[in-house]
């Protein structure tokens, strides 16, 4: 079910609070804000920034958390997802963090959110004008796997020298017969900067092209911020004879029967039984509330309060 926006019950902005609004100090926020504006001015370019220690380890979304902290205000409605799901540990923790330190209403409803922080997915529901999507990025440099030296990748971006990336895709085709790699598929922003879309499945890449929302990317450990403004061309790299294509499934979602969403495969037992369900939990719940039912709707696994079938 889509929960309505909820106001946190803890009055985190009371006089007794011993930290600044939205956790970061004002000067850090200004530094991040300047980086965001430059990132929007040079779409796809990775702006270095002074990443701070956050109350979670690197790899748990420190880049995204710092971006959110720099932009969030009490009027925002905040949604946080991890692998598409609102109810996973990391998403719940980060959502609770901002409800506490920034006095914001939180929601699971994609349409009601003004800021959506995400690890590894873009929601199925199309993003809208006025929304800001914040991505947590482990490795901002799309070329890092091909060239370990930062000095070299900087130069490659400076001169738009992306031949190595195309060679890598070509080697994929010669080895596997297709462009392999399902997530973090490289994109070209406004036909200039090569960008890693963060490890979202390539299924989500087309959603970024001419998207009405602002897309912000933050890598805390690697200390980089980059952005895609609304209505910006985002092209997934491909070849004329090997065009870009996204994942597809023979099954529909086992719970909501969606045929157009990104599906996770869930192994059910050791008898080779499995199910495919929407990775976007809000999308799936919304559809089920509308009466859509997949082949396993009503299955015990669909109910959290019951033990899985043996």
């Amino acid at each position: 079910m889509t929960a309505p926006p909820t106001t946190p019950n803890a009055p985190a902005n009371s006089e007794e609070r011993y930290y600044n609004y939205a956790y970061l100090d004002e000067q850090t926020k200004r530094m991040i804000r300047r980086a965001i504006l430059k990132a929007l001015a040079v779409p796809g370019y990775q702006v270095p920034f002074g990443s701070r220690e956050m109350p979670v380890p690197y790899g748990w979304g420190t880049g995204g958390i710092q971006l959110t902290a720099a932009i969030i205000g009490p009027d925002d409605v905040y949604k946080c997802i991890d692998q598409g799901a609102d109810d996973t540990t990391n998403a719940v923790s980060i959502r609770r963090f901002f409800a506490t330190v920034a006095d914001v209403a939180t929601t699971e409803d994609t349409g009601a959110a003004t800021i959506i922080q995400s690890r590894h997915r873009i929601p199925e529901r199309p993003l809208e004008d006025g929304q800001v999507m914040v991505f947590q990025v482990p490795q901002p440099e799309p070329l890092r796997g091909l060239e370990p030296r930062e000095t070299e990748t900087r130069a490659m971006h400076a001169y738009a020298e992306y031949g190595l990336q195309y060679v890598s895709l070509y080697e994929n085709i010669s080895a596997f017969g297709r462009i392999a790699g399902g997530a973090g598929y490289p994109v070209l922003i406004d036909e200039r900067y090569l960008m890693s879309p963060s490890p979202i499945p390539k299924f989500d890449n087309p959603k970024m092209d001419m998207c009405p929302a602002i897309l912000l990317f933050g890598a805390g450990r690697e200390k980089r911020i980059y952005a895609v403004p609304p209505y910006t061309r985002v092209r997934s790299l491909d070849f004329e004879d090997y065009p870009f294509e996204v994942q597809s499934w023979e099954q529909c979602c086992a719970l909501c029967a969606a045929t157009d969403s990104y599906l996770d495969e869930v192994v059910l037992d050791d008898q080779n039984n499995r199910m495919f369900v929407c990775s976007d939990s809000n999308h799936c719940a919304t559809r089920r509330a509308q009466g859509h039912a997949g082949p396993m709707a009503g299955h015990s696994l669909a109910h959290l309060d019951e033990e899985p079938a043996q």
Partner: protein, 206 residues
């Protein structure tokens, strides 16, 4: 150029009443405007700065400028209450060489400095380029500009007043060398329009 006179606090106008909340609100408006070139950001909640600055430019400075960002100030404002106000509230170093500045506050009514003299960024670090906060009499009523590029679905139009006839040609020459280029914040009254270097402009009309 820094004046060495003691600061007279009784003459100093206030900055944001609630710096945390107000700078956040101002930043979101500026961020939305930067993401959507041509969109007019409303900074109506901004405090009134001293004469020489308009409210949008003052709010942009309070939101973005601090001790890490050298500021180039229009020579017409040197020694003014506006300079004192910026020094006090932003704690920013004031620089005389245009190339040293991260931010510049320019009154379009005075002599426009040569845009090429500002930092255009480095090939590897284009984010180092300067941001120019340009104060205008109004964001409407001037020659019509057609804007295209990232952040604009198709085309959008603005008509800022008070820029010299050659200004957009001078800017076009600089941003033609993308990723180099300067980013503009046009400010009039309590309104702000952002023109990043990616925006392609066609000047039409009078």
């Amino acid at each position: 150029m820094a004046t060495q006179t003691a600061l007279d606090l009784s003459q100093l106008l206030p900055g944001f009443a609630d710096p945390t909340r107000e700078s956040q609100a101002a930043f979101r408006a500026i961020m939305n405007a930067t993401a959507r070139p041509g969109l007019v950001a409303d900074l109506a909640a901004a405090p009134t700065p001293p004469a020489g600055l308009n409210r949008a430019a003052g709010a942009a400075a309070l939101t973005l400028v601090d001790q890490d960002t050298p500021l180039w100030l229009d020579p017409g404002l040197h020694g003014s209450a506006a300079e004192t106000w910026l020094r006090f509230h932003c704690s920013c170093p004031l620089v005389t060489a245009q190339v040293d500045a991260n931010f510049a506050i320019i009154d379009a009514g005075s002599d426009m400095p040569a845009l090429a003299e500002f930092n255009q960024g480095d090939a590897r670090y284009p984010d180092q380029a300067a941001t120019l906060i340009i104060m205008l009499p109004a964001l409407a009523g001037g020659p019509t500009l057609e804007l295209r590029g990232p952040g604009i679905a198709d085309v959008t139009r603005i008509a800022p007043q008070g820029l010299s006839p050659g200004f957009w040609a001078e800017r076009a020459e600089l941003v033609a060398h993308f990723q180099y280029g300067i980013d503009l914040k046009l400010c009039a009254g309590d309104q702000l329009v952002s023109i990043p270097r990616t925006t392609r402009i066609i000047t039409t009309g009078a």
